[in-house]
């Protein structure tokens, strides 16, 4: 009888240990599952856990333009002062008026002012800004990152990646082509006085012809 009691208590103890082990494994499995079972979707693909957010550069630009850029236009440099300084000392103009993202990068100007159209040639109108000639781009295409980088309002680290940052550049150019340039195309004539806010890349050096060329961001015909 003693033997029977001893063997049943051993069995009970073993049973408790094994049960405990199974419970621990079950708890671990729940907390740290080694795999996950998901159902395939209708196309037979594994569904994504999170819906991919697709960056909409055009929508971004619309919001940026109305909420950040337009209010910022009042901060643009004085075109007359900028033009005079460029002619007198290009380096000083870059220092005083320029926006540069990084050392070695292009220097951009962001300016507002007015001038009288002296010449229309190709995609450009040449304006007389108080005796200094500057070019204003009035027809597409608009290339490059001038619009994106000239105001200093946009930084690459505000975006998911370079692809999105560059897409914004293209979308900004498109907005200028579609929403700003058509106005100029219709109204810019020799003798017209045009007021504008624009951005342009600083030249590496001065040559013949107008020292600066601007992409318009806002325009108004004064007379």
């Amino acid at each position: 009888m003693i033997k029977g009691s001893a063997s049943s208590s051993i069995l009970n103890s073993d049973y408790a240990r094994w049960s405990g082990l199974v419970v621990m494994i079950a708890i671990l499995w729940l907390l740290l599952p080694p795999f996950k079972v998901v159902s395939l979707d209708e196309q037979g693909h594994i569904p994504k856990d999170v819906e991919e957010v697709v960056f909409d550069a055009s929508a971004y630009v619309e919001l940026f333009w109305s909420e950040s850029l337009a209010p910022h236009m009042s901060e643009a440099s004085d075109l007359q002062g900028l033009s005079q300084t460029v002619l007198a000392d290009l380096s000083a103009a870059k220092e005083k008026y320029g926006n540069q993202r990084a050392e070695g990068a292009a220097v951009y100007f962001f300016a507002k002012g007015e001038g009288i159209v002296r010449e229309l040639e190709g995609r450009r109108a040449t304006l007389d800004v108080d005796g200094v000639l500057v070019n204003l781009l009035i027809f597409p295409p608009v290339f490059g990152n001038t619009v994106r980088d000239s105001t200093g309002l946009l930084d690459v680290n505000d975006f998911p990646g370079l692809e999105e940052f560059n897409a914004v550049s293209a979308a900004l150019n498109k907005k200028v082509e579609n929403d700003i340039m058509p106005f100029l195309k219709e109204r810019a004539q020799v003798g017209t006085n045009i007021s504008f806010v624009g951005c342009g890349k600083a030249p590496r050096s001065l040559g013949e012809g107008p020292a600066l060329e601007f992409i318009p961001l806002r325009t108004e015909v004064i007379k």
Partner: protein, 323 residues
């Protein structure tokens, strides 16, 4: 073995397993805030089969040595699997930081994450990884802007009408698309310019020669070729030489490799975009040094400008930079 002993053994094994699991789930921030782990820096480069990447890797290594570290170059041979093995080794070996040129913008994220979780900061050079929360910083060329400038020069030289081919780089590399998109943002605005072929030659000179040979068979009258890097530009030029078309087809590259800069000076290849591998490598090494010295605030992405190299200004460039 009795059931009792077996159950004790299993419990012990389970306890060890739990312990190992929990030790692997450490707080990455506290790991990164820990003291300097090692005076060794790993330079993991996508390939050493391209002189441009050799300059990138060797400059990074040499700068790290100059700053007082042991530095070793690991060549991934353009193979994400090999890159993964390098990360296994450098994590296990206790390297203090990684200067990293990835093989795959998406695929390499996991490697960088593993390093981060092991408390090893990663500084990406030249090639972007498609994540903002794993690398400590990314020093990248502004390829898009560089190729906008190249595209504008392309129009100037080739004109607003004609046929051209494009040789793309490695499809999984974001640089391939940043360059292509920059170029096309200009060239596609001229409907008279027609792209008759666009194919990947994987940034490889030999492959580019092969690819362009077959493009020329189908399109014998192209006026120009835009190549996503200089190694491919050299391969393309060789193909044109062999076909007797080197004088009539204009070749454009990108990188600023020495052989292409010399070729531009000789009036052969038309233009390239000078990236600055030495600048990127030096900045990355200095960033790693600053990190290991306690600095923590780094911009996630820093863009290094690219400069257009043409026959007009080629005398200003050489040795993978400005003279």
């Amino acid at each position: 073995m009795s059931l009792q002993k077996l159950s004790y053994l299993l419990c012990a094994a389970l306890a060890i397993a739990i312990g190992l699991l929990l030790s692997g789930c450490s707080n990455s921030d506290s790991d990164l805030d820990s003291e300097v782990r090692s005076k060794r820096i790993a330079v993991v480069v996508s390939t050493l089969n391209n002189p441009w990447f050799v300059v990138l890797a060797e400059t990074a290594r040499d700068k790290a040595i100059e700053l007082g570290y042991e530095a070793t170059i690991f060549d991934s041979q353009n193979d994400p699997a090999k890159e993964s093995v390098h990360f296994d080794n450098l994590i296990a070996s206790g390297y203090g930081a990684v200067l990293f040129n990835c093989t795959d913008a998406e695929g390499s994220i996991a490697n960088v994450r593993r390093a981060k979780q092991a408390g090893i900061p990663v500084f990406c050079m030249d090639r972007e990884i498609a994540a903002n929360d794993v690398a400590t910083s990314q020093i990248l060329s502004d390829n898009y802007s560089g190729c906008v400038a190249l595209g504008e020069y392309f129009i100037e030289v080739v004109g607003e009408e004609g046929e051209y081919a494009e040789l793309l780089g490695i499809i999984a590399d974001t640089n391939t698309w940043n360059r292509s998109k920059g170029f096309h943002s200009v060239v596609d605005r001229f409907p008279g310019l027609k792209m008759v072929a666009q194919q990947s030659a994987e940034f490889d000179r030999a492959k580019a020669l092969e690819v362009l040979e077959s493009i020329l068979q189908a399109n014998p009258n192209i006026d120009a070729v835009f190549c996503g890097n200089d190694a491919m530009a050299m391969g393309a030029y060789q193909a044109l030489l062999a076909a007797g078309k080197a004088d009539s087809v204009k070749v454009f590259g990108f990188d600023g490799a020495d052989d292409v800069v010399k070729s531009i000076a000789d009036g052969k290849i038309v233009a390239t975009g000078m990236q600055f591998p030495k600048r990127m490598a030096t900045t990355s090494a200095e960033s790693a040094h600053a990190y290991l010295g306690g600095k923590r605030d780094f911009e996630q992405r820093t863009l290094v400008p690219v400069e257009l190299v043409t026959k007009e200004n080629v005398s200003n460039f050489g040795d993978f930079g400005r003279k």
